[in-house]
């Protein structure tokens, strides 16, 4: 039997895996990275960029707030007045928990994987609201370009510290690029504004020993796959069924692996049912095969909202491996 790591690599090169890769099994995720991202249930707070967040009680997650003058950028042409890069933690104390975790990873089986969020596109809308961010790409392209360069610079500075401290083998990097049925921006616009930023960022990681670039976007983004490849993404995590996954595998599999096929909303819900989950796992495994494809719920972390789903999905994938290998 192949190790988890070998099995993944076989899957990614379209070789001979001996079973399906089970969701996130190949990564050991180092969430202790001092990103400065906070999760404060039931509270309202400002983060290190000055973005106001709210996580109302009883709700599933947190939200950036932009009304009542709270957006960090009120006027994109004047972003320099209100946007300042946060200070990056460099002390050994701040990185100690992450380092301890990195050192404890069983690298024979798993990839020591750092977590990074939010991505460049998400940062633009967290700073000024989605509508303003999207319209600014048309109305003030130069200012947007400058802002994106500045955000990219910050990411690269953070990456340099992170690589130096932890020597990660993989990165799970979030940036949601679309809704369920379309990308947020056109491929042309993506190529102009976001591709150059990601080429720089992912090249830096690759040049510094990071073997696997896993990019999360749980959305439609089939129209962006050529740019994902150009940016150096090895695995697109979050691919939804609204993309034609078999076609993507066929067309691009040799260059990028697709991880998803199980929409978290339809498997991970209050009082989820085994039959429903099992059927979806069967469908996705059968439809997409075991080359260049990893069955996984689309959410960007190996965490469930409702107890037991992740283990049950794994169980169903095991059954599919028995049946199909």
């Amino acid at each position: 039997m192949l190790t988890i790591r070998e099995n993944l690599l076989e899957t990614m090169k379209g070789g001979n895996p001996d079973r399906f890769v089970k969701q996130y099994e190949f990564i050991d995720l180092i969430m202790e990275v001092p990103l400065g991202v906070e999760f404060n249930y039931g509270q309202t707070w400002k983060d290190h960029w000055g973005i106001t967040w709210q996580w109302p009680e009883g709700q599933l997650g947190m939200f950036p707030v932009h009304h009542d003058g709270l957006a960090v950028i009120q006027d994109i042409t004047e972003w320099k007045k209100t946007v300042t890069k946060p200070v990056i933690e460099t002390s050994d104390e701040a990185w100690a928990p992450a380092l301890a975790h990195a050192n404890a990873v069983d690298r024979k089986e798993k990839f020591a994987t750092v977590f990074y969020a939010p991505g460049i596109f998400e940062m633009t809308h967290h700073l000024m609201g989605m509508e303003n961010a999207l319209m600014a790409l048309y109305e003030e392209p130069e200012a947007m370009q400058e802002l994106i360069d500045y955000l990219t610079e910050y990411e690269l500075e953070f990456a340099a510290v992170m690589v130096d401290k932890l020597h990660p083998e993989a990165i799970l990097h979030h940036d949601d690029w679309g809704s369920q049925i379309s990308s947020f921006v056109s491929p042309d616009m993506f190529e102009e504004f976001f591709l150059p930023a990601y080429k720089k960022i992912y090249k830096f990681y690759k040049d510094n020993g990071v073997e696997l670039i896993i990019h999360h976007s749980d959305s439609y983004a089939a129209n962006l796959v050529p740019y994902m490849i150009e940016a150096g993404i090895d695995i697109w995590q979050g691919v939804m069924n609204t993309n034609n996954i078999p076609e993507l595998v066929e067309k691009y599999g040799e260059k990028i692996t697709f991880m998803g096929g199980l929409h978290s909303g339809t498997v991970d819900y209050p009082s989820w049912e085994k039959d429903v989950v099992k059927k979806q796992v069967e469908e996705t495994c059968k439809a997409n095969g075991h080359k260049y494809f990893i069955p996984c719920q689309t959410s960007g972390l190996p965490i469930e909202n409702f107890e037991g789903v992740i283990d049950y999905i794994d169980e169903c994938i095991d059954e599919m491996s028995k049946e199909l290998f």
Binding site: Q54, F63, M135, Y138, E139, I181, S186, G265
Partner: protein
């Protein structure tokens, strides 16, 4: 090319800085305000269709809607008091527990461009708030509810049923990524549209039914 044609092209391509002047020129050239408005509504229809077809994306739609609103500003004083062009008031919001608003905002823009007077209640709107808004506003003909989380689909159901209980004849349209036509039928909504582009024609169809 006629002045009205200029306006149409400017709206479709989202040239918000140039539309106002073009509308003024059309008025000066003797075009009727109502005709100019109808032309802009038609342009937004084209924009909506292109969005539904995946030919354009959210930014293109946003700037087109913004361009139209700049044009409407010029027409407003000319058309003041002339309520004939309105399709009636539509109350819209994202349902309780749900804070996503990008999709809802696009639908608000499309319905507004189609001729509805929109009252946007924002996000996390309880069923009772929808009912209050129907009570407090004039000439409400439609309530539109958006829900993006599978976990808030019950809130969508509650909203529809509470509105229907309070105002049995009120038309309700629902949408949002996890919503389907079947689900809309199941919870007793009058209509559903999969995207902002098709929401306007669906909304008009419902209120005429």
């Amino acid at each position: 090319m006629s002045k009205i044609e200029d306006v149409k092209v400017l709206v479709e391509t989202g040239k918000s800085k140039k539309v106002a002047a073009a509308v003024q020129e059309a008025l000066d050239a003797g075009d009727k305000a109502q005709d100019i408005l109808d032309a802009m509504i038609a342009s937004m229809g084209v924009v909506g269709d292109k969005f539904s077809a995946g030919e354009i994306f959210v930014p293109e739609m946003l700037i087109a809607a913004k361009a139209m609103s700049k044009g409407v500003e010029v027409l407003k004083p000319v058309m003041a008091g002339d309520g004939s062009s309105s399709l009636g008031t539509c109350i819209m919001g994202t349902v309780a527990g749900d804070l996503h608003d990008i999709g809802k905002n696009l639908v608000v823009m499309m319905l507004e461009s189609a001729g509805f007077d929109m009252v946007d209640l924002g996000v996390d709107v309880s069923a009772d708030k929808f009912v209050d808004a129907v009570k407090e506003n004039n000439n409400v003909v439609l309530v539109a509810c958006s829900g993006l989380l599978t976990t808030t689909m019950p809130a969508l159901k509650e909203a529809v049923q509470t509105i229907k209980a309070a105002y049995p004849g009120m038309k309700v349209i629902v949408g949002g990524a996890p919503v389907t036509q079947e689900y809309a039928n199941e919870i007793g909504a009058d209509g559903y549209a999969p995207d902002a582009g098709s929401s306007a024609s669906k909304a008009k169809e419902i209120i005429c039914a």
